[in-house]
Symmetry: C2
């Protein structure tokens, strides 16, 4: 029982690591060249501060996720890992929310502010951003499961055990 749980947790940590890594790769490689009359320019993730923030935070969490995979099961540092999980989950949530808000404007535009949707002219870029956001979303969900599991173990918030 304890062994199955350990393998499950390890698999979840690996999934979290893999999804942040793919989010970084997919977002960082997204670019599309647009020609408009004589002007030609490239659409990249660096054009938007929110997308840059998304790539930076996901890179940081990828490094952390890799280190957490290497930590031996018996280490006392696991208590620190719970606190770090909390901080990095918040970082991921913050970056995906910002990127999602910008992606929404990119897709639907905003009539009131006269911001036109751009997905019509750069469909490949938009699809890659969508892929990166989905990977980022999987990472957030995985870290939240890991976090709620740790909290449940140490806190017993639903008062299931007799105290």
């Amino acid at each position: 029982m304890a062994n199955t749980r350990r393998i499950c947790l390890l698999l979840l940590r690996f999934l979290a690591f893999a999804s942040t890594l793919s989010a970084v790769i997919v977002m960082a490689t997204s670019h599309e060249r647009v020609s408009f009359l004589t002007i030609s320019f490239e659409t990249r993730y660096t054009n938007s501060p929110a997308f840059k923030y998304f790539v930076i935070s996901n890179s940081v969490v990828t490094v952390y996720g890799f280190l957490a995979l290497l930590l031996p099961q018996e280490s006392l540092l696991w208590r620190l890992v719970v606190a770090m999980d909390l901080v990095f989950t918040m970082l991921l949530i913050s970056s995906i929310s910002a990127a999602l808000a910008i992606a929404e404007v990119g897709k639907n535009g905003n009539n009131y502010a006269a911001w036109i949707p751009i997905c019509g002219s750069v469909p490949k870029f938009c699809n890659q951003v969508k892929g990166a956001l989905i990977a980022g979303f999987i990472a957030v969900i995985t870290y939240m499961i890991l976090l709620l599991h740790s909290l449940h173990t140490v806190l017993d918030p639903l008062l299931l055990r007799k105290s």
Copy 2:
């Protein structure tokens, strides 16, 4: 000592409640009428999905903050409050990140996507949004302090006590 700590925590909870409440009020009352040739329209927070999300999440957390203020000190529900603090802090972080991303585009625009900054034409609206974001930021910081305090108490992640 325990009494001072109790008062400090109560003050922090009151600050969190007050700042989410002000964030909601300031954002919800923000509007400015713009006239452009013969067209006149009103800029409101409802024009942007991210700002609507900000108002809704801050309202939810205000109600929760009020209920947490009323909870007696001896209640066993405080363990549940730690888990709820976690969930609502994440909600606040997500909403403020999305609103901040949109506000950044509103202030600086985005040259690449041809999104023009709007703060020049609606300065009063922009200032109110800025006020609401500052209040929301104070709320996030306060909830994070409360959360880290709870985590420190139950987890001792820095291994300060002997086990």
